[in-house]
Amino acid sequence: MPRGRFLGLLALFLGPAVAVYTLFSIYPLIATMALSTYTTDNSGAYHFLGVANFGTLLLDPDWSVHFWNAAKNNLIFFIVHMLVQNPIGIALAGLLSLPGLKLKGLYRTIIFLPTMLSVVIVGFAWNLILSPLWGVAEGALKAVGLGSWFAPWLGLPSTALVTLALISVWQFVGIPLMLIYAALLNIPDELVDAARVDGLGQFRIFLHIKLPLVLPTIGLVSVLTFVGNFNAFDLIYSVKGALAGPNFASDILGTYFYRTFFGNQLQLGNPTMGATVATVMFFIILVGVCLYLFIVQRRLRRYTF
């Protein structure tokens, strides 16, 4: 094929995708990072500041108190997902992949259902269920004799964040479940059969043979959880509003970014500081993804088949 026509073909096939993606995804990311090195004055003119905005964000108490609070809360949010969502996902995937299990299609469909719903809907639904006004959660606890355990969890500073994290876990457990389930199905039958002939029970087969083989998928699930959590916003915003109450107890980086960028009852919106927060979030996510790519995946390669 002549070179000119070949280039024309490439432009035709790749052009639209590359153009839209570059213009509306990559360029805004770079432009946001560039904007984080500027500040605006009252007339709207931009002044180059270098990395001063980052110093303000991380060290100036006006900004840093809320920033570090949001970062800490985000870490807790992530840890709850790692400790609750992923083990439950792994356990359910293990049960669903048991040979000869009946109704597995039905269970899969039902357990994955919440993942399909909007975070806004899930947040509000749980808001109602946990509300002391309606008393459904309280009634359910009373029915099993634990009525005294009930508290307005979403409203208390000490429990709001973990409660929101658990709501998010409830919704997204379907993702680790599906990815790990798929990985479990891909394990060659010979490996499992050999263990069964040796007299190993299902539980020990799972623990000693299947689980090590799906470690790369667990690594992938972990990094997806990390990226999703450090970019989360919708749930906190729809349940607790932009101020992430009570008293910023449920504030995470996504809500902090939104408030900084758009403003709220307490402060005016600030695009350059908003860009600074977004850039810091970008680097946090970048570090997480790089750790996954360079450490976790390399180490786990040894176990793949």
Binding site: F6, L9, L10, L12, F13, L14, A17, V18, V20, Y21, F24, S25, I26, Y27, P28, L29, A31, T32, L35, L92, L95, L96, L101, G105, Y107, T109, I110, L113, P114, M116, L117, S118, V119, V120, I121, F124, A125, L128, W134, G135, V136, G139, W170, M178, A182, N186, Q202, V227, N231, D234, Y237, S238, G241, F261, P271, A275, T279, F282, I285, V289
Partner: protein, 276 residues
């Protein structure tokens, strides 16, 4: 053996219990949306009966909000974005896997950045751009952003499917002198049909459910999507339980209906090993 039997029963008990936990809250909301106020508070766990049945919440939602407009907006944005993600994604996936050229690996790598890096982080610049282009508060702005958001993963998944198409097929067509564009649209594209379900899931669900970009890019009722519209309605009517439950149910039911119809394709797509 008794022991094995007990194990199977135990596994089912765990799975049934978890299924109840997953679907219970959704059922509770939908069930109570069909009840009168007294019954919602009096007996939340009881299904609606002839005596307690009421559609007052739904009537209020229809009267007090532009739910029809929101729904249409979401439908338009989701379908157009999905169509273009599939078209552009399939074309790019084909060119990247089929044609060898300098920089093809680098380009594939460049296109995959968006799989891991959320486009949301560029929001400040996206809003500035859209304002400058006069696209602020339009559905077009949402569609452009969602195409950019959906492309990386769809190109990645579609490339795996393109690789599975037998080489003989396109070589035979080439020997017959069929032009490349026709090979793609008439030979390759139809063979990619099974991939569409998978790509559609990964594209439609995040777009339909997105709150962030409608919140940032749209400001009037005529451009709100269902997720943002319902969120704002709920915020306003939070004390009116009939309306809140009805609005939640109206957002839940279409998604559940589509999910139940397509769940087989959807789950087989998810577990097909396309995403490794």
């Amino acid at each position: 053996m008794f022991n094995q039997r007990a194990q199977v029963v135990g596994v089912h008990i765990i799975l049934i219990a978890y299924s109840a936990l997953a679907v219970g809250p959704i059922l509770l909301v939908v069930m109570n949306s069909f009840k009168a106020r007294n019954a919602i508070f009096g007996a939340p766990l009881a299904p609606p009966t002839a005596a307690t049945f009421s559609l007052i919440g739904y009537a209020k939602v229809f009267n007090a909000s532009h739910i029809g407009t929101y729904f249409m907006n979401s439908l338009i944005v989701t379908l157009i974005s999905m169509g273009l993600v599939l078209l552009f994604g399939a074309m790019a996936a084909w060119a990247l896997t089929e044609y060898k050229f300098r920089g093809s690996t680098a380009l594939a790598l460049f296109l995959s950045i968006g799989i891991m890096v959320p486009i949301r982080l560029g929001s400040v610049a996206i809003l500035t751009m859209m304002r400058k282009a006069g696209l602020n508060d339009t559905l077009t702005a949402l569609i452009l952003v969602y195409i950019a958001q959906g492309l990386p993963l769809s190109i990645f998944i579609l490339s795996e499917f393109v690789q599975q198409i037998p080489k003989d097929l396109r070589d035979a067509a080439r020997c017959d002198g069929v032009p490349e564009t026709r090979i793609f649209f008439e030979v390759v594209a139809p063979l990619l049909r099974p991939a569409i379900a998978t790509v559609a899931v990964f594209t439609i669900v995040p777009i339909w459910n997105d709150l962030w970009f409608p919140l940032i890019l749209t400001s009037s009722d005529s451009t709100h999507t269902i997720t943002l519209g319902v969120q704002q309605f709920l915020g306003q009517y939070i004390t009116d339980w009939n309306s809140v439950l009805a609005a939640l149910s109206m957002a839940i039911l279409p998604v559940v209906a589509i999910y139940v119809i397509f769940s087989r394709q959807l789950i087989s797509g998810l577990t097909a090993g396309a995403v490794k």
